[in-house]
């Protein structure tokens, strides 16, 4: 029987997991960005996200008790225990894909955090207030790049549209209301995902229409991450993330 404390811990993990997996994907670009400026920008975003993850996981560790640490939570769970959405697992592929994934996430992340600043849970609200300041810069960055690529050359435009077409089916899951999230909303702890989705769509229309990029009509959106059912990418991601902690338990710098 899950207590309220357990459920809040689960919700906090849900929030942290998106940032962690996306942060990890961005960290793969370190030294491999298309230009020095974008390399630094994307890894800075990754760093911001990991800072948020630490805040979430430290709080979750406190709630879970049992001597759990933020490192145990980050590195020692099994694949089905991670509740990130499928979008953030998608590979970097090319710069347009990286930007597309970032844009969809940021457009969701900003209104999510805005809602969470009003959470009845003071720690979640505090984390949200802090994170929101940084995520505003993230959304500005990714929106500007979507516009540059969409309104750029024929090739940049083609690649940006291709990335949007491919990633769009993954964009809805973040705003699907799971039973846990409904409960959190009822208690005034979690965000109203319907309101978040409305704001997400406003951003989509504003940014994409400016450069004549379109959203594909999709009959079915990908889903499963929130239930711990992940894409084929998750196995590879976790083997990178978990190798050291599993090979050298309790290792520290």
């Amino acid at each position: 029987m899950l207590t309220m404390k357990d459920k809040i811990a689960q919700y906090v993990l849900l929030l942290g997991d998106n940032s962690m997996i996306l942060g990890h994907r961005l960290s793969e670009l370190c030294g491999h960005g298309p230009t020095l400026e974008t390399d630094i920008a994307l890894t800075n975003i990754s760093l911001d996200l990991f800072g948020q993850v630490r805040n979430y996981f430290q709080y979750a560790a406190e709630l879970m008790g049992e001597e759990k640490t933020e490192d145990d939570i980050a590195f020692l769970r099994y694949v089905h225990e991670y509740k990130n959405s499928l979008l953030v697992e998608q590979p970097n592929k090319d710069f347009a894909y990286t930007i597309g994934r970032q844009f969809f996430f940021d457009a969701f992340h900003q209104p999510l955090l805005e809602a969470l600043t009003k959470s009845n849970d003071t720690q979640i609200a505090a984390i949200a207030v802090k994170s929101l300041k940084e995520v505003k810069y993230h959304l500005r960055f990714s929106s500007q790049w979507v516009k540059r690529l969409g309104g750029g050359t024929d090739i940049s435009r083609e690649k940006m549209q291709a990335a949007i077409d491919y990633l769009w089916p993954y964009s809805n899951e973040m705003m699907e209301v799971s039973p846990l999230e409904q409960e959190m909303l009822d208690f005034g702890i979690g965000a109203d995902l319907e309101a978040v989705k409305a704001q997400f769509m406003v951003t989509m229309n504003e940014v994409l229409q400016e450069v004549n990029l379109t959203l594909p009509t999709v009959k079915w959106f990908q889903s499963g991450g929130k239930k711990g059912i992940h894409t084929e990418h998750m196995g590879f991601i976790l083997s990178d993330l978990q190798y050291m902690q599993r090979a050298y338990p309790k290792m520290a710098w």
Binding site: E37, A41, N44, F50, Q52, R54, V129, K130, K133, E134
Partner: protein
């Protein structure tokens, strides 16, 4: 020592703890130290992190513990998230030290937004004082900074982004 003297002593010691990236800037001038409480030799220092992912924070916490423990105290450092740190908490001395070191101090929130969107003549060159400067990138050498270049003396310099 009386409690007041102890707190003063500790504040002096903390004044000597600097930002690992900017060795002229004290954490006291950054507004990172929020509260110091003392009970005999036990000290609790509460600090707020600047950026969520700032890797310097762990270093700063370690420095605080080391500095105070060396002086004979038994120190604990606690990170508190709320109220969230803002660049408003950098005091006048902090801003001066930043500029001297070559980092342009943060502008007001609205000015910062315009500067980072490319509006001209917003940020002053820390080398020659010209306002004819351009933003090279919104992201600089660290999460808190953006990269600028002067069109007069051509020197690059960092700008500390407004966080509010």
């Amino acid at each position: 020592m009386l409690l007041n003297e102890t707190t003063q002593h500790i504040n002096e010691l903390l004044r000597g703890v600097t930002d690992p990236e900017i060795p002229v800037l004290s954490i006291m001038d950054m507004g990172i130290v929020r509260e110091v409480s003392v009970d005999e030799k036990d000290v609790l220092v509460k600090i707020t992190p600047t950026y969520s992912g700032c890797p310097a924070m762990d270093m700063i916490a370690t420095e605080i513990r080391f500095t105070l423990d060396q002086a004979g105290y038994n120190t604990k450092v606690k990170l508190i998230l709320s109220p969230a740190w803002t660049t408003d908490w950098i005091n006048e001395n902090g801003r001066k030290e930043l500029e001297k070191y070559g980092i342009a101090a943060p502008l007001s929130e609205s000015a910062d937004k315009r500067a980072l969107l490319g509006e001209k003549r917003m940020v002053t060159c820390t080398n020659c004082g010209s306002t004819d400067t351009k933003m090279v990138s919104q992201f600089g050498s660290t999460a808190c900074k953006a990269l600028f270049q002067c069109n007069d003396c051509f020197e690059p310099f960092d700008y500390f982004k407004c966080l509010k």
